[in-house]
Structures are given as structure tokens and as C-alpha cells.
Subunit: 456 residues, 2 copies
């Protein structure tokens, strides 16, 4: 064990440091087993321990990689042999819940599921909802500004964080554990740490905003004939109280998933578009009536080819499974590349068509699936061009991201840049914006010790 | 005219520069006539002109003060003789409205009222609502992260800005005119410029988020016996669809305002608390029913002493006038100091009582009025201790802000630090947080040329 590791262990104790097989058995990737190449994983038990180990690493010029729940898909958790990993898995306490103010104070290693459970005890909800919520942590979701399924109703992670405590690259603890909805006392420092992928500081604690837990949920899956009809339905759906999801599946996605898994086929697989609409509110009778009226009027207007409405919690879960069919893709479409972009809602179908055409022209055969949270501009695309899909990843990415840039879209809507999209960042932000990002990073971490390989 | 002013005029043209009486006739303060002491006010007509004049001033080491609508109450617009003023009043175009994406792109000199008018043409709303919206500008409200009356429904300005273009202290244009609800492409630079009171850059354009214009508005004024009852009513009100305001007036405020102006007296003036409750939604029938049910149940539970409900637009305006009675304060309580703080909702009444007691003990006689947007923790307090109120301002502020700190409150909820609260900032943020703010300011404006006298 190196002299530095001995000093670090003196701070965090024997339980606070993992090495050997304990490191090798862990993965930095949610789909493959890719262990960190690091000599050790440091697991501080308090902000104070975290601060001390970071200060020690800073003095030694030791680069660090942060681990949350390791559910990210942009390579942000990958760690090399000359890097040490820090995990906050021993800092996972829910410190306080204030049901009157609607806030929850928590250590950053807690999972989103644990936060939701603590909020539910008070009839409250932490509204960030992700498939990976059982593993994804408060710290990880803050540093990536995680989105998920209910962004149109409650916003991204950024909108649900009131305060935080962060440790800077030199070990300085910056405590800004604001609990108020309104606080303009100087710069809002937490905004620096949210979404900066762990490059400006390590989130140690956070104050999260809670909302009243919805008591009503209405959900339907509908088939539509054209993209114009999808937009017309979106316009109507937005007039509804508490629209919480408007998820669009192109036929390429819905046909593929429902074709391979009959339990995911509540509607015929050949409609050009299949849309999941959901509202969540506080008034069961009024919400149901508004939902049914909206669908009835859309049907009368000729927008809807076919529809199925959920009338139980089981049916709600079953319809969401249609939209969350990535396990079908993994089983039947691998290897594939996935994309997470935002694009002007009015042109999303044009973008999908242009992408399909460009990939076909460039690579001959190509399977593509398209789906996403359309109401917030975010679509996901899966691309398979054959067994060499991964070895030709850069070419495929260049093709797709070139079109994203041409359509004025965003390189990543919610997954982040990480390492996997780093090379494409300069194409998607202006040179002065990138230079300003560098100035901020240089101001807070001039030695590039925190997550040095992500972003830029 | 100095050589620098001649060069500046060459960029902005004769209409782009004001001097002499045109400067002296303008005020930096919304209540008094306090003209800038500056030799000139620069009025660029485009981002490019703005960039060029800022670059020229940077090269000359010329400090600048930004003017928006000059409605701020924290002294942020005050300008000295060695400073030049920049106003974006000639950059006030609404550039584009996208009704499908729900966005509006605008130059920063446009007023909030102009933005709301442009949004209304598409059945949409820009939800930041301020008494000063006819004068307050997009740029000013972004740089102060303005709040207002509907924060519990739609958030602060920060939550309603999707993208912006800013000019840095050296004239660099940083363009990040994002139009998407979801975009994690690198650092979210706009967050740096929002709420930093013009010290990190000058907002030139912005992309604002629009929401569907509400079609229903329900409003009532109710009297309550105790602060516990206020909290109980708040708990019930939060269960309502689309609660948009929950404004609390302590008896000291309501009794004073309604006593001096009988047109502001819809309820007897002696109840300990008077609360304005409002919902805004999309479903008139359901919203009215939910609102009436909520009040009826609160009445049955014995929470409500008396109530009046608005049943017309005129009555809605009249009840809001009760809450917005600052003109009565100006007429009958001057001179007074006003405070804009956040405090733990559970302890807000304790804070008000402690403040009143401390002021009485310290200054003998004291008139105090307390009111605010309680549901988001924000209360406003007006204090008059006699004719020497303003000359003893620092002592009064020290007394109030000392209690704010003791209660763990926020020095300013929505008005900002500006110049008036600058001396109190170190008492209300941690030393490392303040040091981090300085690092960021030094990184982007090392010469302190932008709004050098505000914040710290």
C-alpha cells in the first residue's frame, strides 16, 4: 500500500477503504462489468472525512473519480490506474424532513428510492423519477442534473434542489444548505455544482424540495396516424391539469418491442405513432373527468386511431413497461448505440426521418428505434448497424450528432457528456461558451483533480 | 466629451448616448429622485454594439453600472461619477415565440409586461408577476432572479429562463440561447448570470419558458385566530390543484392599511391574521369546486373566523390591492425601512414577535408591519421608529438582520443584496461560500468593472 493510501486509511479507517477484489468486483458501467483500474475506493463516513481525504489528495496531486450509484450511461464513473475512486455509500443518512417547509436534508450517498421512501412517510414526494432510482444516488443525480419521466410536471433535478454542501478540489467545504424556495443572498453557488458532472466539487449533502404526493394517476396509451396528430394531441394534453408524462414511440420502436414481447402489445403494432399520456394530481374525480374528456375530444377530432386506458395500478405499470422496453432492445437488438438528444418538438419527426435516411445511406442496413419524453423535447434513439456497431461507434455518432447540430438540437438532454460525448462537445456549444466553462473549471479546480476525464 | 465617450459614440451613434439633462432627469431609485452621477448613459441597439462598447470600456479600465427598469429596491442601479451607465432600453424586441415548444426569445431590455403581452397572443403566460412589471425588464429580473406573487406555482425567474446570451466584462459574447427544457450539454452557464446582480456578465438576450395561460382564477381573503391556524390552513391549501398564492398579513399590517384606507377593508381589521388564498388553473368548474370545498372544510374545522370570496375580476383586483398596500405605507408610515427575508415557515410568527420585541426594546417606540408570501417562506417587514428612521438605518438593520441570522433565515429572499445589504452579506453566508463567490467573480471579472459596488 502506498504511503498516500496509508495516510488516507488513517482518516477513513479500515472500513473506509476498499482494495483488491472489492474493487475488481465493482463495475463503473451499468450494462457491462468494467471495474475501476484504481488501487482503492475511498468511502468516507462524513463531510469532515471527505474534506480531509480530498485535501490530502490535493496536496499529493492525486486525481479522483467520484462514484454515485454507477447507473450513468456516459462513462462518467470509469476510473484509471492512476486515479482513486471516492464513493459516498457510507454517507447515506436522511438527516431531516420538514413537512411544513416541504424539504428533506440528506447525505449525498442516499439513493433516490430511499429519499422517496422517507418523503412518503409524510405524504410527500421527491418528484425525480428514474428507472434506476434504487441505485442512483442524490449526489450522482445532482452532479448529472438527472431528468427522467416526470420533468414536464416537476422539472429536472436542478429544480428540486434547494441547497447543498460541497467539497471543493482542495478539500474546502462550501456549505450552502439553503432550505427556502426564495433566497437571493449572493450567488446561488449550488447551481455551479448541479449538472457539472463532479468537476467543480463533490456534493456531500443536499436539501431537496418535496411536493404533496399525488393521489390521482390517469394513464392511457393511444395510436396515432401522423406526427401532426401527435402535435395536435400534445396541444390538447397540455391544457390538462397536471400532465405528468407525454411519451412518444415511433413505429420503429413500438413495432419492435411489441413484436418481440407480446406482453408489451396492448395496441396493434403498426400505427405510425403510439403515445403514453399521464396525469398526476390531487383530485381523483376531477382529474379522471378531465382526462377522459381530453381523450374523448381528441377522438372526436379524429386524432386517435385506437386507445387503451389503465384502470388499475397493475395496468398503469403494464403500460409504462411498453415505454420502458430497453430490456427488449438489449435482448434482441444488441449491440446498439443509444442517443439522448433534445430537438425542436416541431421538427422531431423530420429529425428522426433524416437520421434514419442518413444512417441507411452511410451504413447500408440499419435498425433504428425512436422514442422519448417528447413534451420536453427529449428523444432517445437506438441504432444497430450489424455486429460491428460498437467498433464503428465513432462513425455512427458523427453521423447522428452532425444531424443534431444541423437541426439545432442538444447533444445530450439528460444523460450528460461524461467521457463518451466529450469529443462532440465543441461541435455543440459556441467556442466562447466552452472557453467560459474552462475558466470556471480552472477557477475551482486548476489542477484538474476531480473527474478530470469528463466533459472537456 | 472625453476621448472614451467619443469612441463609444462612434459605436452606438448619437441616439445611443445620453448626457447632461437626459442623465440628470433619470432616477436610479424607484421611490426617490436619485440620478446617476455618471457623465453618460450608453444605449446600444444590438448585442454586437453592446459587446463593442464593453470591450472598449474594458480596455480603458472604465467601470460600468447596468440599468434595467430601475425598479430594484436594493440600490443596484446607483452610479457614481467615475462610472458609466449602460441601459438596454433600445434592445427590447420580442424576437420569436414558439407556441409548440412554449418558448419566447427576447432582447433583455423588454419589459415583463411586453413579454406577457406577446405570450398572451398565443394563449400563453410568462408567469413571473411583479407589481413593477410595466417597467421591470427581462435583463433586470434575470440578473436579480426576481420572484413575485406566483412563485409557489411557477417558481422564481431562474426556473423560467431556458437560455441566454451574455456579454462578459471583456466584451466576449457568450451565447447559450437554449430553447429546451432538457439540455445537459456541458455546464449550464446561464445559471451563473441569473441572480448574480450583473456582476458576472450583462444579459443581452434570453429564451423564456411560457406556460398555458390559466383560464380559472379563484381568490378569497380570510381572517384567522392564530398562527397555528394559518399553518393548518396552508397545509390544506397545498392539497389544492394549482395553489398560486398564499399571502399572509399580520394584524399589524392589515390593521394599519385597512385603517388608513377603507377601500382596503373587506374584513374586520382586528383579526390576528388575514390570508389571501388564490388558485389559477385550466378547469374552471373543477377548480372552483375544489377551492370552495377547501374553504368550507377549513371553516368546519374552525380555522376561519371570517371570509370573503372574489366573484369577479374587479373583486380579485380589489382583494389583491389589500395585500399590495405599500402606497398606504408610503403615505402614512414614512420614513420606513423595508426588509425582505426568508425564514422557516414554522417559526415565522416567532420571528415576527422576536423582531417586534427587539426593536421596541432597542428604540423605544416602533411601528412594524409584517406580511408576505408565506408559503414560500418569504416575509416582508416595514419598520418605522420615528423621524430619524433613515438616519438610524444601520442600527435598525443590524437589529433585524441579527435576528434573521439567529433564526437561520435568509438576508434577502427576492430583492437581492445590491448595495444596501452588502455589509450584512458576510454574516449570512459561510466564509468559504463567500470566498467561492469571490473566486467566481475574479475568474470572470478580475478588474471589477461590472456593477463593482454590489454584493461584496
Amino acid at each position: 500500500m502506498s504511503a498516500l493510501l496509508v495516510q488516507l486509511e488513517a482518516i477513513v479507517g479500515p472500513r473506509g477503504i476498499l482494495s483488491g477484489v472489492d474493487v475488481a468486483s465493482r463495475s463503473c458501467d451499468p450494462f457491462d462489468h468494467v471495474p475501476p483500474a484504481s488501487a482503492a475506493i475511498l468511502r468516507p463516513a462524513s463531510t469532515e472525512e471527505l474534506s480531509r481525504i480530498v485535501a490530502l489528495c490535493h496536496a499529493a496531486g492525486q486525481p479522483l473519480v467520484m462514484h454515485g450509484g454507477r447507473t450513468g450511461v456516459a462513462g462518467g464513473a470509469l476510473a484509471g490506474a492512476d486515479e482513486l475512486v471516492i464513493s459516498l455509500e457510507r454517507m447515506a443518512r436522511v438527516i431531516a424532513v420538514d413537512p411544513v417547509g416541504g424539504t428533506l436534508t440528506v447525505e449525498a450517498g442516499a439513493t433516490i428510492a430511499a429519499v422517496q421512501a422517507a418523503a412518503a412517510e409524510h405524504g410527500l414526494l421527491y418528484p425525480i423519477d428514474l428507472g434506476s432510482k434504487g441505485s442512483a444516488t442524490v449526489g450522482g443525480t445532482i452532479s448529472t442534473n438527472a431528468g427522467g419521466n416526470r420533468v414536464i410536471r416537476w422539472g429536472m433535478t436542478r429544480h428540486n434542489v434547494l441547497g447543498l454542501e460541497a467539497v471543493l478540489a482542495d478539500g474546502t467545504v462550501v456549505s450552502a444548505l439553503n432550505t427556502f424556495l426564495k433566497n437571493n443572498t449572493g450567488y446561488d453557488l449550488k447551481q455551479m455544482f448541479i449538472g457539472s458532472e463532479g468537476t467543480l466539487g463533490i456534493v456531500a449533502q443536499a436539501v431537496l424540495r418535496l411536493v404533496p404526493a399525488p393521489s390521482s394517476q390517469n394513464l392511457a396509451l393511444v395510436s396515432l396516424r401522423s406526427y401532426d396528430d401527435v402535435l395536435a394531441l400534445l396541444g390538447r394534453a397540455r391544457q390538462m391539469q397536471h400532465l405528468s408524462a407525454f411519451e412518444v414511440m415511433w413505429q420503429d420502436y413500438y413495432g419492435f418491442v411489441s413484436g418481440h414481447d407480446p406482453t408489451r402489445r396492448p395496441l396493434a403494432p403498426d400505427a405510425p405513432f403510439t403515445v403514453l399520456i399521464e396525469t398526476m394530481g390531487q383530485d381523483e374525480a376531477a382529474d379522471s373527468k378531465a382526462f377522459e374528456n381530453c381523450l374523448a375530444q381528441a377522438h372526436e377530432a379524429g386524432l386517435i386511431l385506437d386507445a387503451v386506458m389503465a384502470s388499475s395500478g397493475k395496468q398503469i405499470a403494464d403500460l409504462w413497461r411498453v415505454r420502458e422496453g430497453s430490456e427488449v432492445l438489449v435482448r434482441h437488438m444488441s449491440p446498439f448505440l443509444s442517443f439522448d438528444i433534445s430537438v425542436d418538438i416541431r421538427r422531431a419527426d423530420d429529425f428522426v426521418e433524416a437520421t434514419r435516411a442518413a444512417l441507411k445511406e452511410r451504413f447500408g442496413t440499419c435498425r433504428m428505434v425512436s422514442f422519448g419524453h417528447l413534451a420536453d423535447s427529449n428523444i432517445h434513439i437506438g441504432v444497430h448497424i450489424g455486429p460491428d456497431t460498437l467498433t464503428r461507434a465513432t462513425q455512427i455518432e458523427a453521423c447522428v450528432y452532425g444531424l443534431v447540430a444541423r437541426f439545432g438540437g442538444a447533444l445530450t438532454a439528460e444523460h450528460g457528456i461524461g467521457m463518451t460525448k466529450r469529443d462532440f462537445l465543441p461541435q455543440h456549444v459556441t467556442p466562447t461558451a466552452l472557453a467560459t466553462m474552462r475558466r470556471l473549471r480552472d477557477a475551482l479546480d486548476p489542477d484538474r483533480l476531480l473527474n478530470r476525464s469528463v466533459l472537456f
